[in-house]
Symmetry: C2
Subunit: 359 residues, 2 copies
């Protein structure tokens, strides 16, 4: 009907009050006489005014109520990872007090039209991992005074991080295996770098991804010579493929496998079953993350439970604090070792097999 959408001024005029009064009616930031209030509301209703335009409000306020979440990967891939999903949950919680929503951002925008760290109206940003490409945009964002927090990654300089005791935690699992008498242990690792194809890796292979490197270091603290098969991602099928590689040669089977994620561990277990091995009697398997692996029952993984939700929540709190003017703080979370039924002592049958030769 009307040529343009009504504004708060229109409402004010109709109600016979000033724009500031009308504004206050909608924001509730100050007391308004009930009769006035009602008059404004009626005017709004009659004009079809549905409340302040968030765009204008955010300009004036200097806040958009939006927190950007930046992923390194394709969005679809990111959400297949249960740990990331849990983190998102925590993050949503953590920024809730801020009244903020989460804007999904991809690291690299091929088309160029997508919103980026630089073009989106963000109040703050949370990076999940931090590859090289991102560093550049990061400089821009911090220059603009937008708080940034990095989860599982290093953005250098004074950017607060939400970290995990990956190495120490993984060492715990390894020690657990050693205490059970395991000596011939293999590692099924997360990817070595972006775009990695699955395969065995040499002992001096440079590992670009922080999480992979740290967890591997923990395993090597206990088993320096463990063979390492690096998967192409944290998926059950990748673990299955890795497990097949591990168990292919009956004369060189490890008695235990340290998987760097629960999904990989689940795949390894499946490969073991396929090879006629029983878990944990013939081979012990440890995971990492402590997520619920759909369909893994009746197994209960021996794993490191990481506080994924808390990590997300902490990131949310961190940006909230920074927005409030408080100094940025890095936090390091700790994993809990949880013994399930996928690890056990080396048995006669397992030990009977010829030891595999490292390398």
């Amino acid at each position: 009907m009307s040529s343009r959408r009504p504004t708060i001024s229109d409402v004010a005029r109709t109600a016979g009050v000033s724009p500031s009064t009308a504004s206050v009616v909608f924001s509730g930031k100050a007391a308004v006489a009930e009769t006035t209030r009602q008059r404004v509301l009626d005017a709004a209703a009659s004009l079809g005014y549905t409340g302040p335009d968030p765009r204008a409000a955010s300009l004036r306020r200097g806040r958009s109520g939006i927190v950007g979440v930046v992923f390194e990967e394709h969005l679809g891939a990111a959400f297949r990872d249960p740990v990331k999903t849990l983190m998102m949950d925590g993050l949503a919680d953590g920024v809730a007090p801020l009244g903020a929503g989460l804007l999904l951002l991809r690291d690299h925008s091929p088309g160029g039209t997508e919103p980026t760290l630089m073009t989106a109206p963000l109040d703050a940003a949370v990076l999940i991992g931090c590859s090289g490409m991102l560093r550049e945009s990061l400089a821009v964002v911090t220059a603009r005074g937008i708080p940034v927090v990095v989860i599982e990654g290093d953005a250098g300089e004074g950017i607060p991080r939400i970290a995990l005791d990956n190495r120490e935690a993984q060492r715990q699992a390894a020690s657990h295996l050693r205490a059970h008498g395991h000596a011939d242990v293999a590692v099924v690792a997360l990817p070595v770098r972006a775009g990695w194809e699955r395969g065995w890796i040499a002992h001096d292979e440079p590992i670009e991804i922080d999480v992979t490197r740290e967890r591997l270091a923990g395993a090597r603290d206990v088993f320096p010579h463990a063979r390492i098969f690096s998967a192409a991602g944290s998926f059950i099928d990748e673990g299955l493929a890795a497990g097949r590689a591990l168990f292919a040669d009956p004369s060189a089977r490890p008695t235990a496998v340290i998987a760097q994620s629960d999904l990989l561990a689940a795949g390894v277990i499946r490969a073991a079953e396929e090879a006629g091995l029983r878990v944990p009697d013939d081979v012990s398997v440890t995971g990492f993350d402590g997520v619920v692996v759909d369909g893994l029952a009746p197994y209960e993984l021996t794993t490191l439970v990481q506080p994924a939700v808390d990590k997300g929540r902490a990131a949310g709190h961190a940006v909230a604090a920074m927005l409030g003017g408080d100094p940025a703080v890095s936090i390091r979370f700790t994993c809990d070792f949880r013994e399930g039924n996928t690890t056990g002592p080396v048995t006669a049958r397992a030990a009977e097999q010829p030891m595999s030769v490292p390398r």
Copy 2:
């Protein structure tokens, strides 16, 4: 150093040009002499200006470059569903030409501070499902002229929908089973309503969730008397539990199971194995969705492949079209029947078993 962040006017002044020229340098919307351009860029660099403030730009332009995605559930739960994940992928694609990003929004805001359909600076909104609670906010949003599209749900009135031929598709799978001689078929259904606990349902049970009801109707078109076990969600473990219920009584085992999702089907298969039944020799199983079920190999589900990515993309296109002033269009997608290795003819051994009695 400076008391406030530099604006484009500051840059213009420093460069000795007008604000509009500086603006154009950053937006690239018009030709600028190279020397002028460089002068502006230098000025920006010297002032530490990192580009136009997106908030101001969005007010002026009337576009924020943000599309809201509204979920009924907890974010974490939503992303555990591979179909939703795929849809998000398609959606991200679909809104890309718009240059828009996706803002995650939850249906229900317990705290009350969360951004909502009404308070977020959205150009458009996509609802995944549409529960009652949402209807109200919807009115507000549409009143404001913000385009809205609903995927898998009914928002009433003239709100465009992205739908699926659930009933017809499910009927195809059922017919396939009948053609193979199956007569004693059970259905493992998606939840009957929000908050549903798994269990058998009576034939007159009212089913509140559209998808569940439609797919069930398709199955009943062929097998009116099929017993129905409704799971609490689309998860492998739910399918496993359902399968156990189905196979518990050896004297009342169905020769085929119609699962309303691939994840449920995967669980049913696992339950079958657990019960010592071979798939498809002893029991045939069909799924729905056509997603890759991590860890299901070597089975390949007989299923209905739904174009999940396309659905998302279509939703993106739809809002893009609406933003362009074109009329809203509802789209109905079609599933493809795909025969895998989880269905087959009724065998002597399966038929040998006593038929189960419906009800």
